[in-house]
């Protein structure tokens, strides 16, 4: 079991405007204006890392906008988390037992 405080601190060191929230008692990390590469291009948008089971997946990363057809991602669906709408592709098996920073990278590989 990972320690959410330590994991969040590591995320915040990388992205200072990150904030920690909870949904159903589970920690959720909001990453506003996160810069990453998608389909070979630079993209900036809010991301939401859900480091435990959600909607049938062991962990999830939600995107502010849909990046349909980008990278290996497919089957983008809408979700409401923290009372806001998000998009997530079908990207399975990013395990919960790993540092949140690695988890974020593993999810972003869906759109790389």
């Amino acid at each position: 079991m990972t320690d959410p405080t330590a994991e969040f601190a590591a995320i915040q060191a990388m992205h200072p405007s990150a904030s920690l929230h909870t949904e159903g008692g589970n920690p959720v990390v909001l990453l506003p204006n996160f810069k990453f590469r998608a389909g070979g291009r630079a993209v900036e948008m809010a991301l939401l890392l859900y480091p435990s089971a959600h909607s049938g997946y062991v962990t999830r990363l939600f995107f502010e906008r849909k990046l349909e057809g980008v990278g290996k991602s497919q089957n983008w669906k809408e979700h409401t988390v923290l009372s806001r709408k998000w998009w997530a592709p079908s990207w399975k098996d990013v395990v919960a037992a790993q540092p949140w920073t690695s988890m974020l990278g593993a999810h972003l590989r869906a759109v790389a």
């Binding site: 904030s19 929230h21 909870t22 949904e23 159903g24 008692g25 909001l30 506003p32 204006n33 809010a46 089971a53 909607s55 049938g56 997946y57 809408e78 979700h79 409401t80 988390v81 923290l82 009372s83 806001r84 709408k85 079908s90 399975k92």
Partner: protein, 306 residues
């Protein structure tokens, strides 16, 4: 004499209370369309009706208010719902959202009660969570046909009233990680599951009964948690075995500190909020006076222990 004379037992001011109420209705298919029709008759005044689809031929075995001519016209389900309500009421307040409910949260947030008549476990869980965050009573209806083999089929279903602070649909066992995983893996794919008009009607009728209990003075002690099981083969709708056990359970899935809009102050979302406000202006076909959008205060006060 008014058109509501025969339901005056619901309470002296039940007519105005029902007219003042706003119902959020997510999913206007087999189950939801019955609720539209019945609440229109009952005299509910405000509606946020949400569905991204239009009528198709396979809907016509159960979509209340839908006509064969709507197939050719490719009428949306929200338009059918709006037509049904306007046929029963002179001055309804209707916000039709021809989109998924994820794009209607700004509108749904202001409802007194939200009813979910949706297909998937994922949608139900997220809709209930959204309702809880905003202290709105949520009613879930759903039916299924189980193949027992040997050409035997069992129609089953449930009606759950999920109130802030009380047992939720996860507490009831309707939502489990296993079901969510199966659904995500498409084994439990929704969409073409068997559905029949009378079972949808039985479940919807029970839900409308709960709406009347919550909104009118008919019940001195309105229900706080309800979990009914439908057996369509026997034609019974009875309390689930666990209803009594769950009655006073404190739900661990929706902690009270998660009440409210968690990202209200986050600057990042100002733009999204502005988008919603714009959309709202576009969608509100009959603008509602603000006083009509109040939540049943008694319900909220109770939850907050006031």
């Amino acid at each position: 004499m008014t058109r509501f004379d025969r339901q005056s037992f619901l309470g002296a001011d039940s007519e105005s209370r029902l007219y003042a109420a706003t119902l959020g209705l997510v999913g206007l298919g087999g189950g939801g369309s019955h609720i539209v029709q019945q609440t229109g008759h009952l005299g509910i005044g405000g509606y946020v009706v949400v569905d991204p689809d239009h009528i198709t031929e396979t809907n016509t075995n159960r979509l209340i208010g839908g006509a064969l001519a709507d197939l050719k016209a490719v009428t949306t389900k929200v338009a059918i719902a709006e037509r049904l309500i306007r046929g029963l009421q002179e001055h309804p307040r209707i916000i039709p959202v021809h989109d998924t409910w994820h794009n209607a949260t700004g509108e749904l947030k202001r409802c007194d009660i939200i009813v979910g008549a949706v297909d998937s476990f994922k949608e139900r869980e997220q809709l209930e969570r959204f309702a809880r965050r905003h202290l709105i009573p949520y009613i879930d209806i759903g039916m299924d046909v189980h193949d027992l083999g040997d050409k035997t089929y069992l129609i089953g279903g449930q009606v759950i009233l999920s109130m802030p602070g009380k047992a939720c649909i996860r507490c009831c066992g309707l939502i489990t990680e296993e079901r969510l995983t199966l659904e995500a893996n498409k084994y439990g794919a929704a969409g073409s599951r068997p559905q029949v008009v009378w079972s949808n009607g039985a479940l919807a009728s029970a839900a409308v009964g709960l709406i009347a209990q919550l909104l009118t003075p008919w019940f001195k002690e309105p229900p706080e948690f309800v979990y009914l099981d439908y057996d369509g083969n026997r034609g019974t709708l009875v309390p689930n075995d666990r209803m009594e056990l769950l009655r006073n359970k404190i739900c661990p899935h929706h902690p009270p500190e998660e009440t409210g809009d968690p990202l209200f102050d986050v600057r990042e979302f100002n733009r999204l909020t502005a988008d919603l406000a714009l959309r709202k202006g576009k969608l509100a076909s009959t603008p509602a006076p603000t006083s009509f959008w109040k939540k049943p205060l008694a319900v909220i006060a109770k939850f907050l222990g006031l």
